[in-house]
């Protein structure tokens, strides 16, 4: 459905996208993850024909978004991260306005809008003024608007940005409905647990490059073994300060990369598998270090994201 090849975008000396390659199959929900300035929005704007690429190609269902930006507009529906409001315009008129932009007839727009407003749970608001809707409702209306021409690809740029938990939940339900309808969606978000729940595939971007991309489970599986170990030491037979002694012992062990201390915990950056982690615990016992708790973090998209991006961004 969407194929991006060697996509590059340069703003003066700043390289926003660096030979980006990406492929999204039909019916897939692809989550774009990355810190601010990673190039997610730039990629999305190029896909929607809002921005010209410096080089590379973007094709949506065989249509070149760069060479045929006007043709791509009927293939793509775009939801920006900010919902711009027209004063004095009702929900149904808002839908009619955008439907007429696609050359649709009034009756056709009305019929489709009814269904779309139902999909986004706004049927009871069709006579309400857009500027009176809550932010969550506006964002859902924006999704309905983006679907008015039945696009093949829906591009959502941080649709949950600035929404409260309830509105986020409602948006998630809308997206789940779209997934069940078989829509192809490219979505960026900072709320990673939701992305991992919704998306079939994800891509982590940094500095204009796709650091990793693939099925959510595959990515997490591939990165297993990198999670840190949390440990609490209650006693050690030593005259040295406790932390210093523990750090010295740990650093002598294989697979231990870094040891750091919080108020009551030791955080061990460990590269070994679970068997090696168990061996490490035994070693600590051998050195008469008494541990009250010892557990390894479970890998998820959030921890993976932080690991890959070096914890630059609050995910």
């Amino acid at each position: 459905m969407l194929t991006i090849e060697n996509l590059t975008k340069q703003y003066g000396k700043f390289l926003a996208l660096d030979h980006l390659n990406l492929h999204i199959d039909k019916g897939e929900i692809y989550g774009f993850v990355g810190p601010n300035g990673a190039g997610k929005t730039t990629t999305m704007r190029i896909v929607c024909g809002l921005l010209k690429a410096t080089s590379g190609s973007v094709t949506v269902d065989g249509i070149d978004a760069i060479k045929q930006p006007d043709d791509i507009k009927r293939k793509v529906g775009y939801v920006p991260d900010f919902f711009g409001v027209y004063d004095n315009l009702k929900v149904m008129e808002y839908m009619e306005f955008y439907g007429s932009m696609y050359g649709m007839e009034r009756q056709e727009i009305d019929d489709i809008s009814e269904g779309l407003l139902e999909l986004v749970n706004l049927s009871d608001k069709k006579d309400a003024f857009v500027d009176t809707l809550s932010r969550g409702m506006k964002q859902r209306l924006c999704v309905a608007r983006a679907l008015i021409h039945n696009p093949d690809l829906l591009v959502l740029d941080e649709p949950n940005s600035g929404l409260d938990p309830r509105a986020r939940f409602e948006m998630k339900e809308v997206l789940k409905n779209l997934r069940s309808m078989g829509k192809t969606i490219l979505i960026s978000s900072h709320i990673l647990p939701e992305l991992s729940e919704l998306c079939t595939s994800v891509g982590i971007m940094e500095h204009g490059r796709l650091v990793t991309s693939g099925k959510v489970d595959d990515i997490i599986d591939a990165s297993q073994g990198n999670q840190p170990i949390h440990m609490k030491v209650v006693y050690a037979e030593t005259e040295e300060p406790l932390n210093q002694y523990v750090a010295t012992i740990l650093k002598e062990q294989p697979f231990v990369e870094k040891v750091s201390f919080t108020d009551d915990e030791v955080l061990i950056h460990f590269r070994g598998d679970d068997l090696e982690a168990a061996r490490l615990l035994n070693k600590l016992f051998d050195h008469h270090i008494m541990v009250s708790h010892y557990y390894r973090e479970k890998e998820n998209l959030e921890s993976l994201f932080l690991e890959i991006t070096g914890g630059e961004e609050n995910a």
Partner: protein, 296 residues
């Protein structure tokens, strides 16, 4: 198969949104109140002079150019205000991007914005008919003159509106856009007048040096066709005095039959030229909207 005509969606939307705003009602009331005050002042002056020299209905005919000029002035001020936020407002609201993801062309966006401004102008014109009609009832003007004036106001609105849409596409702030539109309008008036003045002064000085009689600016006078107000001046002259700019040129000494023939068609010639300029402004506005694509 018949293809159905679709109204420009942006124009349609702006009409819906604009008609719900109280701003338009207040503006119509303000304009009519202003025009009414002018009529009352003229009527009072006529009544006062009637005590000494008798009532002269003929003087009331001057209500026509007075009200016409005031309407031109109001349109020159109101249209920039309406159009100033047309594109910059979309940018400020962050709705332009979504608009640009639809198949509607940037030129259609610019035309839609101009069209909605023209609808407002027409609304003002229609609302002012009762006041304007006083000049026709009391002054004895023909309805064709009133229709002609409305045509002129519409033309002026298109010209000023296209400049406004262009300025709105160039600058980010609506206030700056309004000022820029008015400045461009005043600039064109000043520049064309100054150029003509310099030409006349130079030609006159050369004639004096040669010791021959000055025979008018000739074709150089056509620079004034670029002045959007010149066809309105010609129209007013024809309605009030029965002669236009051609007579003025003849009196200044122009003898060339071609130049005089063209100047007799001053109104259509100037309007065509200024409508071409308006079209260029709209095309430039459309190009500026497209440039958004290259911004981050």
């Amino acid at each position: 198969m018949r293809k159905r005509l679709h109204m420009n969606p942006i124009w349609k939307k702006e009409l819906v949104v604009g008609s719900r705003s109280m701003k338009m009602s207040w503006a119509i009331m303000g304009i009519n109140a202003f025009l009414t005050i002018i009529v009352l002042i003229v009527l009072s002056i006529t009544n006062m002079s009637a005590a000494t020299s008798g009532y002269r209905y003929a003087t009331l005919i001057w209500l026509f150019p007075i009200l016409g000029c005031i309407e031109c002035g109001l349109i020159s001020l109101i249209v920039p205000v309406i159009t100033s936020g047309s594109i910059s407002g979309e940018r400020e609201r962050q709705t332009l991007d979504v608009m640009l993801t639809t198949p509607v062309t940037t030129f259609s966006i610019a035309v839609g914005k101009l069209g909605s401004a023209m609808s407002v102008v027409m609304m003002y014109m229609i609302a002012s008919i009762p006041v304007m009609a006083i000049a026709f009832v009391l002054g004895g003007m023909s309805w064709w003159a009133l229709l002609g004036l409305f045509g002129m106001l519409l033309y002026l609105g298109i010209y000023v509106g296209s400049v406004g849409v262009f300025c709105s596409s160039v600058v980010k702030k609506s206030v700056v856009s309004t000022i820029l539109t008015i400045a461009i309008g005043i600039g064109i008036i000043i520049v064309t007048t100054v150029i003509l003045y310099v030409v006349i002064a130079t030609q006159s000085a050369m004639c004096d040096a040669k010791g021959v009689a000055y025979a008018g600016p000739g074709a150089a006078a056509f620079i004034m066709m670029l002045n959007p107000y010149s066809p309105i001046v010609d129209f007013m002259m024809r309605v009030m005095m029965g002669t236009g700019i051609d007579r003025l040129m003849e009196e200044m000494g122009t003898k060339s039959s071609i130049i005089l023939a063209i100047s007799r068609w001053w109104i259509p010639c100037s309007i065509v030229i200024n409508m071409i300029i308006s079209f260029i402004f709209l095309k430039l506005a459309a190009r500026n909207i497209s440039v958004t694509r290259n911004r981050k």
